[in-house]
Symmetry: C2
Subunit: 476 residues, 2 copies
């Protein structure tokens, strides 16, 4: 599997813009772009990156399928949906309607906290784009290339809507739920070959169902997976309805009683359309390498760099200072003695302790070692310090800096300019496959079955018809 090259910045300024009148809204322009997108418009490297994102997403879907909140959503959707159908319920011996399958898979792929993220929009595209697109592709017999094309449309729309909704929106709303509804509609709409007007209807029907509030975080409730399930289901429905002639608001994004009017105070209209067809937001999406809060990743990578360059072992560390942005201190600062696996993913000390011992902080390392004596001892040697350079670069760039004091008295500095998984420091296909295999193990799926699925999935662009992604072994 060849390593894909870094893709940012990615400009094709010669691409013709879709025709529009002077009075057309940005919503209409974005809809026309999504409806009119062709494979030949998309740079091959962006399509290859979309394959990477899809394989990476697949690992998360497999990993999360047994989690309690996901199992609840699956029980509901399978009870309310048909007992069989074209939509694969990933890693379960079940299939159902595209609508029910999309909801279940969207819930499953947002629970291991290993799915992708677009930094600028603070939006997780994979979990709301791939599940509905896959389910509909399986239902209508679309080709692998058609599926990839539709997913690019979903990513481009969703990321732009997320950027448009801005920071005041994100303070209260879970952008992956809200913008995700439109992302799902765009992807499914492209698969259903909506024309520009129908796609605008689909965005209208999606946006008027757009929802998801952060309030659940306060008591660690289960809503996060409900948000992605809802976005996938409502977006898919919006696209099917549009295909059937059901109309939606003409300007759900910027209209005086639309999303911006009701759900944000700092909308950024230019984000919706600037660079359409030349800037590929899809390729700006980051992979998550470590299985923990993104705010810990830059320091983790900087520590790994020092340890590898200096051939240090965990026992060599006397003290580690992570030089961070203020946001990291705000989120991670209170977590000094984590009591649960989930909490430990927000502990800078735990993350650096796992990285120092195992070279990575994956699901397995957290589950097995987050509270071991060795991890706790290392954890308490870690501190955070606000760094002016790191802070001023954030959130555009997530710089990682650490100072390591060794037992033998050395003081060593590590630095990464982009954390592992960001577009300029992306994962190779071998790394993506390895991550997916680890995720499958976490989800209780055998290496052999996952290996076969991955080998096939890397060839998606050659599939004449999208079939089942994962074939489980017969039950014992």
């Amino acid at each position: 599997m060849p390593r894909t090259d870094a893709l940012r910045p990615f400009h094709r300024p010669h691409l013709p813009k879709p025709p529009m009148t002077a009075h057309a809204s940005r919503t209409a322009e974005l809809a026309a772009f999504a409806a009119g997108l062709r494979l030949k418009d998309i740079p091959p490297a962006v399509l290859r990156r979309t394959e990477d994102l899809l394989v990476d997403w697949f690992g998360s879907a497999v990993a999360g399928h047994r989690a309690r909140p996901v199992a609840s959503i699956a029980r509901f959707a399978l009870a309310m949906g048909p007992a069989t159908g074209p939509g694969e319920v990933i890693a379960r011996r079940a299939s159902t309607s595209p609508h029910a399958a999309a909801m279940i898979n969207a819930a499953a792929s947002h629970v291991a906290e290993q799915d992708d993220v677009h930094n600028g929009s603070v939006f997780h595209p994979a979990t709301v784009v791939f599940p509905p697109a896959l389910a509909v592709a399986q239902a209508i017999g679309a080709s692998g290339q058609e599926l990839l094309l539709a997913c690019v449309a979903g990513y481009e729309v969703g990321i732009r809507v997320g950027e448009f909704l801005g920071r005041t929106h994100y303070k209260v709303f879970h952008t992956t739920g809200t913008a995700g509804t439109l992302a799902a509609a765009a992807a499914v709409g492209r698969l259903l070959r909506l024309d520009a007007a129908q796609m605008r209807d689909a965005l209208g029907s999606a946006g008027t169902q757009s929802a998801g509030l952060w309030e659940f975080l306060r008591t660690a409730a289960d809503s996060k997976q409900l948000h992605t399930a809802h976005a996938a289901g409502a977006g898919l429905m919006a696209a099917y309805l549009a295909k059937d002639g059901f109309t939606g608001a003409a300007d759900i994004l910027q209209g005086p009683q639309g999303m911006a009017a009701g759900m944000t105070q700092d909308a950024r209209p230019e984000s919706l359309t600037d660079g359409l067809g030349s800037r590929w937001a899809t390729a700006e999406t980051s992979f998550k390498y470590h299985a923990c809060c993104r705010h810990t990743h830059p320091a983790a990578d900087a520590l790994l760099q020092v340890m590898q360059q200096q051939q240090l072992q965990a026992q060599d560390l006397a003290r580690v200072v992570a030089h961070v942005h203020q946001g990291a201190i705000d989120v991670l600062g209170p977590v000094l003695q984590p009591a649960t696996v989930h909490q430990s993913k927000f502990s800078m000390g735990t993350v650096l302790a796992l990285v120092a011992q195992y070279g990575q902080a994956g699901l397995g390392e957290f589950d097995a070692h987050f509270l071991s004596a060795a991890t706790q001892a290392l954890r308490d040697k870690v501190e955070m310090a606000l760094d002016a350079e790191v802070d001023s670069a954030y959130p555009r760039r997530w710089i990682g800096k650490v100072t390591v004091h060794t037992r033998d008295g050395r003081v060593l500095n590590g630095r990464v300019d982009e954390p592992k998984g960001d577009p300029g420091n992306s994962l190779s296909r071998a790394e993506i496959s390895a991550k997916a295999l680890r995720l499958a193990d976490h989800g209780g799926v055998s290496s052999a079955a996952m290996q076969r699925a991955l080998e096939s999935l890397w060839q998606l662009a050659q599939w004449p018809v999208v079939g089942r992604l994962l074939a489980l072994e017969p039950q014992a």
Copy 2:
């Protein structure tokens, strides 16, 4: 069928309040009320009024089932749901899962514009409460009394949430869609016998899916029925998930990242809990008598009063002045020569012309006569004038006042203090049945079938198990 008496005000101050700690939220208190509500807590007249509301809703569901947007939603839900199931799809030869049936029936009952309204919350409870409650009652074999009890829980929660969200919410959001999601969850949650904590989870999962924007009005798009379908489906799902242990935000209404934080600027917290168990918001709900914009109803009733008292015929009218509040002028003022049936429902002249000719402005009168020569001639004799008394009483009271100039030179004044259908001027059961029969005719359902259904439905409280409401004749 006995006439039900006016129910407002309705106080039972001796009812014990549910136990709560000093730190419990109003959300928790409202949830505990809905979960703990018992038949014996509810005054018999409120239960009888709930039967009235249910029968009235049933007429609207039958009337709307063939409308184009409803047919689209039905095609989607039936394609994605199971081919059979316990949930009745009203007036169709179909049944499916409770989830799919709830969505279809909720869409159907909000299209004829004849479903009920709660003035203070500007919320239409029936269309989002009865469809999910009926579908779940049919699925679990609940009794008629259990269904009524659950619907009271849904009304009480939904109306209070609508009042809580306030006027700035209503400016952008369609409260029937947003508050409706919680209303549906409360009704279904009561049927599923959620405990207080589970009911709070259900409200959390409902509120985080709450959606619906007015933007669709600008281009007369189809979203209105999507909003009720969404509220019914998402609310039902929230309740089932809660029963399965899926948690929701503890304070979705007032929490710092909850609905009030994200979706309104003038939340009224006291509305959520004041008078719980003593004030019955259910019984404050108004029936719609005329099939047109509510702003026309007070003047229409005042005109009817004058004509009946003075035994006038339509041809006796030379000039009619409707004395109205400013809101009526804002909404109806621009509509002088309506071109479509829908537009004519916002024409004061057309409404008064139909009332003068036919004694009512129902669906049939609009369809057949909205643009007849006689209607147009009468229409142009009507004018509106701002009235200080009417305007200052609004929206608490909707006073109707007209001045009628007759061809023989008399000047007559008419006045109603509450329009027909408001709690103080309610419909008799005979009038509700007659309205439902007219609605059935509009929906293409035979009088005989509807008559049988109504006779049975008025006995709902005696049903040991809720079965199918409408039995259609065999197809020819």
